[in-house]
């Protein structure tokens, strides 16, 4: 027993010591300061993960609790001049306990209410990973860690391996090598720029690439095509016709002499061209599809016919890997230019140039989630707000992101994956009857957000409520606060309510009250002051 008391006294002396209190309070303040800078630079969620809800910060808070507790114990039995001190420390202990109860049992989420739709699902801030087997009607959820950095999960479920979780990530381009080089499945990166504007673009013909073969930059349309089509775009023929075999990526740009034209019974012109020894019939005025033997449109044919004249009115840039083609209005001619890596070609629009940065036939470009520390600007996270989890099935690795669910076909079964927020379901539901937003007179600045809701309590009937800022709805220990709003595609506004259940609340209030009263008692009652040097006593 004596040994226990001896060790208890040692612990009491250590944690109840004033110097320990100074160290732990200073450490706490330093962590808080660090957290605010992290919050400013990387956003609230990152700061929460890195600092405020980290194990080390919890440890500091626990040490503060020990310091407060033992500082009180060491000063027992009660002494009259320390009554204020006891009240302060009792208040702090109760405050800590209240916060712990909230941390353990509290619920803090949000309820999204679309206009006139019932909702009972509260979305929490924690992430979870869902694996769904629709055929079996089975769903598995796995809690994702609340870490600030990448975390290896090493979890396996029915042959599905969950590997690395990235709480903050962005898609970055990476090159995936291919076994067989194919000049019709190339990928290229370019920079299109002038003195005031510049944009990096990646275009790909590979079917597995995340990049398209066309894109639009303001009024400029960019098309990426196999390199052997470039010759057809460069030639200037009166009709501007190009006949293209989609399978072989071969093309011809026939001169008028090479096109035989005759009238069909329906009055339309039928043209016949010789495509590398093969006769192709088509109706240039009607369709890009060729005609079959019965003079009907042949959708199965790999051939397509189109006129370059379609691309002469507006700016269209054709890129063929190491070739560039465009229509120059000032010369009324199609121009073609070869371009090597790091070389540039001047374009006929507003001083723009195009520079080839990379061109590959032995690899294709795709977007892969990469961990980044998020970046916040003007209270918005502008980079890194995507979560991603690497999954391995049957030796194949792929990423599931929070941007959209993914699916994988395993044998005859389709498995669905999703990263989302944890959900809890209320035993009652709310319907948003109306969302009202008032603005300050003569401005578009919001003055108030108000939700008119109906609460359906099952067999207990329903009731109408008006929720607005500083006027929450309280029902069965849950409190619903007006938090935000959104506009639906159809036009009306939806509302977002913050939902809270806090069993620690009474303790926190009691602790706070004791803390303030104790401070007043300790600092202002029964205090003696030094007399001014040189002044007469009394």
């Amino acid at each position: 027993m004596d040994t226990i008391i001896h060790y208890y006294r040692k612990i009491e002396q250590f944690f109840g010591n004033l110097k320990f209190a100074v160290v732990i309070i200073t450490l706490f303040a330093i962590f808080l300061g660090y957290g605010t800078f992290m919050e400013s630079y990387h956003g609230t969620e990152y700061a929460n993960r890195l600092v405020y809800k980290s194990i080390i910060f919890m440890g500091i808070q626990f040490c503060m609790f020990l310091s407060i507790f033992f500082a009180t114990m060491i000063r027992l039995p009660p002494r009259k001049h320390l009554y204020g001190f006891y009240v302060i420390h009792a208040g702090l202990i109760i405050l800590f306990l209240g916060s712990f109860i909230t941390y353990q049992s509290g619920i803090d989420g949000s309820l999204t209410l679309a206009p006139n739709q019932a909702s009972r699902q509260i979305q929490l801030s924690e992430d979870e990973f869902k694996i769904q087997f629709p055929a079996k009607g089975k769903e598995v959820t796995i809690d994702l860690p609340f870490s600030a950095g990448p975390k290896d999960l090493n979890i396996e479920y029915e042959g599905i391996k969950l590997k690395t979780f990235l709480p903050f990530s962005k898609n970055e381009m990476s090159w995936i090598p291919v076994k067989i080089q194919d000049e019709t499945q190339t990928t290229s990166r370019y920079r299109i720029f002038n003195d005031n504007f510049g944009e990096f673009i990646t275009l790909s013909l590979h079917p597995k690439s995340d990049f398209n073969n066309t894109l639009q930059l303001g009024p400029l349309n960019v098309h990426y095509m196999p390199s052997n089509l470039s010759a057809c775009f460069v030639s200037n023929t009166p009709d501007g016709l190009i006949i293209w075999n989609g399978e072989s990526s071969e093309c011809i740009s026939p001169q008028p002499a090479g096109i035989k034209k005759k009238k069909h019974t329906n009055g339309k012109i039928i043209a016949e061209v010789d495509f590398l020894g093969q006769k192709i019939l088509f109706m240039p005025e009607m369709s890009p599809l060729p005609l079959d033997a019965k003079f009907e449109l042949n959708e199965k044919s790999p051939f397509r016919v189109f006129s370059k004249k379609l691309f002469e009115k507006n700016p269209h840039l054709f890129l063929f890997g190491k070739h560039v083609a465009f229509y120059n209005k000032s010369t009324s001619l199609w121009e073609g230019h070869p371009v090597e890596i790091d070389q540039q070609v001047a374009l006929p629009w507003m001083g723009f140039k195009v520079r080839l940065l990379e061109h590959k036939a032995d690899a294709y470009a795709t977007m892969t989630p990469t961990y980044v520390k998020p970046i916040q600007e003007n209270s918005q996270v502008i980079e890194g707000n995507m979560k991603a989890l690497e999954v391995e099935i049957e030796g194949e690795n792929f990423w599931v992101t929070s941007m959209e669910p993914s699916a994988y076909n395993q044998a005859d079964e389709r498995i669905r994956f999703e990263i989302g927020k944890k959900i809890i379901t209320l035993p009652y539901e709310l319907v948003l009857d109306q969302f009202k937003m008032d603005t300050d007179p003569g401005t578009s600045t919001p003055a108030s957000f108000e939700s008119y809701v109906t609460l359906f309590k099952g067999n207990k009937g329903s009731s109408k409520h008006h929720i607005f800022m500083n006027n929450p709805l309280k029902h069965e220990n849950f409190t619903f606060y007006q938090a935000s709003y959104f506009q639906t595609q159809a036009g009306p506004y939806g509302s977002v309510l913050s939902v809270n259940f806090d069993p620690g609340r009474p303790w926190k209030y009691l602790g706070s009250l004791l803390l303030v009263l104790g401070s007043i008692w300790h600092y202002f009652l029964r205090r003696k002051h030094l007399a001014k040097p040189g002044a007469k006593n009394g």
Binding site: V22, N470, P472, P533
Partner: protein, 506 residues
């Protein structure tokens, strides 16, 4: 087009009259609506002209006269006022071709370069201080454009029993002028007099309180009485006349704050200007209370010194503190919590400011003059008295904030930077108070620590808004608030170094 020609013809034919008699100081009392509030034209005109030019006048013309004349440009009045747009950032000045030493550009010259500004803004991805200043110059030009297109000046118009505000451009129509010309030789003045009369009948003249508030310039008078009080109490060591001036200062400031509360209809602590205003007054009042309690005039002197600092900030730090009264964001529209939580926190900062001033004063005195050990200990006790007030008020303020947050948003604590920094301030002072009872913080360390600890108050008060809220990407220290804070830290650190290195201990 016909409408425009009629009005132009009207104004041209009466241009001399219109220029001489319409745009006069009488318009200062004319009711207008801007930023969601009804206010006298004087306030709108002064705020806008100050925003555009950085000055309250355009050459010899008052802001109201200049604003009026510029608005008439929308009707073809051939007026050219020498309006100059304020530009502060060195790089923006370079871009607009402004010479070194100059801080403005002629408005027409600036308008010709709007395209250049827009291109530069579009080019910059990072929202740094350069981009912010570019945007500000663009906003100044937009405001000027809104004046000369008669969009900014709104005029009350009777619609049935109600009053609606419409832009000057919509108000001054050909039909109205033609109709009134039959009744009056001076239809414009007639229309404005009628609009004002209708407004006064329907809504009263409460809005004119704001004009009186600005015209009375109570804070300038308070600055004068504060300076005189410091002179009497410190240099002349005359107590009673000094006390009367202190009372006059408090009375002037309480009157000003009360009028401001009456105008805005809410607690006087909703923006940085108001917190500075309230902190100055609070420090003086707390200084007086502790003086009465401790019979020590040093607290009042510290209160006066802090008050004069805040009054100077209110007068001269226009780039950082906006004097205007604007509507609150919805979440803050709760007078009870706003008036209790924010005022308590600001009063705590005021009490800590007293400890900061006394600590710095004691440190400098000890460095350059002989301070006896007894005097030093007495000084420490004075500082301790202020910190006690500050810590109790701050703890109460933080808790009130937590209760408000819990009541309004369902979270007692949310690690919001403002609340977190106020907790940091509390922790820093609590650590100092705990340390004071150990051998780690003897009086010689206590004083510089308290002087330095006020930097956390400044960070919580200004830094969260001017550095953290704007994001660390724009950590340029070239904007008003960040420059002020950076300068404060630099000076305080220099004083600490000066006060602690080779200190003459008694």
């Amino acid at each position: 087009m016909g409408k425009l020609i009629t009005i132009i013809t009207f104004f041209l034919s009466f241009s001399a009259f219109a220029q001489m008699n319409f745009c006069t100081s009488e318009l200062e009392t004319f009711p207008t609506r801007s930023g969601g509030r009804i206010k006298p034209l004087y306030v709108l005109a002064t705020d806008t002209i100050k925003f555009i030019t950085g000055e309250s006048k355009v050459e010899e013309l008052s802001a109201t006269e200049a604003f009026c004349k510029l608005s008439l440009k929308a009707f073809g009045m051939p007026l050219e006022l020498p309006v100059k747009v304020r530009v502060d950032h060195v790089e923006v000045k370079k871009l607009l071709g402004i010479n070194d030493g100059e801080h403005s550009i002629a408005v027409n010259e600036a308008l010709a370069k709007v395209g250049l500004l827009e291109t530069e803004i579009a080019k910059l991805k990072e929202n740094n201080s350069y981009k912010k200043e570019l945007n500000k110059v663009k906003q100044r030009l937009d405001a000027y454009q809104a004046i000369i297109e008669a969009r900014l000046w709104t005029v009350p118009e009777k619609k049935g029993e109600d009053i609606e505000f419409i832009s000057l451009g919509e108000f001054l129509t050909e039909t109205k002028i033609a109709a009134i010309r039959e009744k009056s030789d001076n239809p414009v003045n007639y229309l404005f007099a009628e609009a004002k009369e209708n407004f006064l009948k329907a809504k009263g003249d409460d809005y004119l309180l704001e004009l009186r508030y600005y015209k009375m310039n109570l804070f300038m008078w308070a600055m004068l009485t504060t300076i005189l009080a410091i002179f009497l109490l410190v240099a002349m060591k005359i107590k009673w006349p000094g006390a009367i001036l202190v009372a006059a200062t408090i009375a002037l400031e309480i009157t000003a704050v009360t009028i401001r509360v009456m105008i805005s209809g809410r607690g006087p602590v909703t923006n940085m200007y108001e917190t500075v205003m309230f902190a100055g007054l609070g420090a003086l009042v707390i200084g007086c209370i502790i003086t009465l309690y401790r019979k020590e005039v040093a607290f009042v002197i510290a209160g006066l010194c802090f008050n004069i600092l805040t009054l100077m900030m209110m007068k001269f730090a226009n780039g950082m503190l906006d004097e205007g009264i604007s509507p609150l964001v919805p979440v803050l529209r709760d007078n009870f919590w706003l008036s209790t939580h924010v005022t308590t926190v600001i009063l705590s900062y005021a009490a800590l400011a007293l400890s900061w001033l006394i600590a710095n004063g004691l440190m400098i005195r000890d460095r350059f003059f002989k301070v006896s050990s007894a005097e030093y200990r007495y000084g420490v006790d004075l500082i301790y008295s202020c910190i006690k007030f500050g810590v109790v008020l701050l703890a109460a303020g933080i808790i009130l904030g937590g209760v408000w947050a819990d009541y309004s948003w369902g979270r007692f604590w949310g690690w919001d930077p403002k609340e977190t920094w106020s907790l940091i301030v509390l922790m820093v002072y609590i650590a100092i108070l705990h340390g004071k009872s150990t051998s780690w913080i003897p009086p010689q360390r206590f004083v510089p620590l308290v002087a330095g600890a006020f930097m956390t108050v400044m960070m919580a008060w200004f830094g969260v808004n001017y550095i953290l809220a704007s994001g660390l990407h724009s950590y340029g220290f070239s904007e008003g608030g960040a420059v002020f804070l950076g300068s404060f830290f630099a000076i305080q650190i220099a004083v600490l170094i000066l006060g602690t290195v080779k200190r003459k201990t008694a």
